[in-house]
């Protein structure tokens, strides 16, 4: 099986200081990867490098064999969906039209037809926002907006979905809903890479965890192998307890 994402010695420096250091990994279909680590560990920088966003990286970050930073715009739009950490909506277009922007790389106009319309409808159903579709997208609550952005990212039906803290500032119900949708996308043959702060949530839904510390990838593997008390205590600088009950990992810090 060929890798959807492949990095080799990926490094990013900002103002002379290394933000990412020698990150090498590869990932393929059906993987749901949780990128965890303390604030400032380089999670966002890693995800941005995979999308091809600045700051410029050295080393390699390839998406479906092509360097992420130099993908042709349309090719990028068809290969990668990206949920950035800040997700503004500047004009009060309807939810449906915001989701339709997910089809941008297919030349879709504002009024969709055919496969574009079908993809948008699937995304709206998956994110469970059909009841919002005629609402102005600027009038939504945090949980509603998060699901609208998720639907927009799903609508491209791109092989790679990269999400930067998709569950931040959401209540438990919305967190679960978002994680379930992402896991479903991975199970359906996609590759999902998500930066996450809730480690129990990461443990429950991810097939693989990557732990970043000070710009370095210090652990990479199945949740049970990465989410150990020793790893977490070292990375986060506070004592951590990991319990596994009936196969479900729970993390607490004291």
């Amino acid at each position: 099986m060929s890798a959807l994402i492949e990095t080799a010695k990926l490094s990013v420096a900002r103002d002379g200081a290394a933000v990412l250091n020698d990150i090498s990994f590869s990932a393929g279909a059906n993987e749901m990867i949780g990128v965890i680590g303390p604030n400032g560990a380089g999670k966002t920088t890693l995800l941005r490098a995979l999308v091809g966003l600045p700051p410029a990286a050295s080393g390699e970050a390839r998406v479906m064999g092509e360097p992420a930073a130099s993908l042709a715009p349309i090719r990028r739009g068809r290969t990668i969906s990206y949920l950035p950490q800040t997700r503004p909506i500047y004009w009060s277009m309807t939810v449906e039209r915001i989701v339709a922007l997910g089809r941008f790389a297919y030349g879709a106009p504002a009024d969709l037809a055919g496969e574009d319309a079908a993809a948008v409808e699937r995304a709206i159903a998956d994110a469970d926002i059909a009841h919002l579709s005629r609402r102005p997208a600027t009038s939504l609550s945090g949980g509603e907006a998060a699901r609208v952005h998720l639907a927009r990212a799903l609508a491209a039906e791109a092989p790679v979905l990269i999400a930067d803290e998709p569950t931040a500032a959401l209540d438990p119900r919305h967190q679960l809903a978002i994680m379930k949708v992402l896991a479903k996308r991975a199970a359906a043959g996609g590759l999902v890479v998500a930066a996450l702060h809730d480690l129990s949530l990461a443990a429950r839904f991810c097939t693989r965890i990557m732990l970043l510390e000070n710009g370095r990838l210090t652990a990479d593997g199945a949740p049970v192998d990465v989410l150990t008390g020793a790893n977490l205590a070292r990375a986060f600088g506070v004592p951590a307890q990991v319990t596994a009950e009936s196969g479900r990992i729970a993390v607490s810090f004291d």
Binding site: R48, V51, G52, L53, P73, I74, R75, R76, G77, R78, I80, S81, Y82, L83, P84, T86, R87, P88, I89, Y90, W91, S92, M93, T94, E96, R97, I98, L101, G102, F104, A105, A110, D111, L112, A113, A117, E121, S133, R134, P136, R152, A156
Partner: protein, 337 residues
Amino acid sequence: MPQGKPLAFSERLAVALLAGLGALVVIASCLFGPADIDMQSALAGLFGAGDPVYATIAQEIRLPRALAAWIAGAALGASGAALQGLLRNPLADPGVLGVSAAAALGAVIAVYFNLAALAFWMTPLASVVFALGATTILYVLGAGRVSTARLILIGVGLSSFCGALTALVMNLAPNPFVLSDLVSWLFGSVANRSAPDLYLAAPFLALGLALLLLSGRGLRALTLGDETAFSLGADLARTRGLVIVGAALLVGASVSIAGAVGFVGVVAPHLARPLARHDPARTIVPAALIGGVILAAADFVIRLLPFDQELKLGVAAALIGAPGFVWIAARTQRLAA
């Protein structure tokens, strides 16, 4: 799809109605004026029938002026809509941001140093070049990164600076009519426009509008911010270039025929946005049509007012537009964001 056709139809209907309204105002404007001609003769004259004197007055004096007002308004409306989409800011307007003042400076330099003698298209070209400088400065200093308040302060500074330079150029120029001309350039006027003025501006206008329309899809993607637009597959460098050059062409050409008219570029897109269901790509055309109607109607009213000294078009536009600007500013939530 649960929606679509009826609303899309109403969008097209609105565009057709606005275009028709613009034509009506322009024709109406040709029927009234200081020359004592009854409406029927003027209408016949406008279409080349009847008394040749009336035809000359309607076709060569009134029509170019009315068209100049409509064109200037349309150009400002379209560029306002596109600049607002690019800067993601409902208060971006060529007048407020100083682009019009920069274009006026370019035109004044061309006129007062007689550059038009070098080549007849120097005046619109100088306007466009200076407008281009202004849009570039604004983009480099502003887009997406600074607050609305700061962007507008940059515009105020740019505007004042270009206004001062315009006054300086006119002081240095060997021309006795400096003051009244200064007012025309800085406040805007379409008095005494002739058909050749319009022909000269036409290529710049057509090219500018074409570039802005090409930028529409990119502007739509920018609704979700730079990062998301980039990941969606939008070519942001291209979109920026199209808007910066397209708006400069339109504002430059509009200023070369009507001077610096303010506030149309903020009011027209604001009114157009609901018609386009807030889609920045679809706001451009209705904003142009509304801008055209506003300025053509304003000029029509000016000509009917019984003042000895004719009110400047830009003054009339500001009388209507400035309160509109304040109202929009007061309603804009992200002003300090």
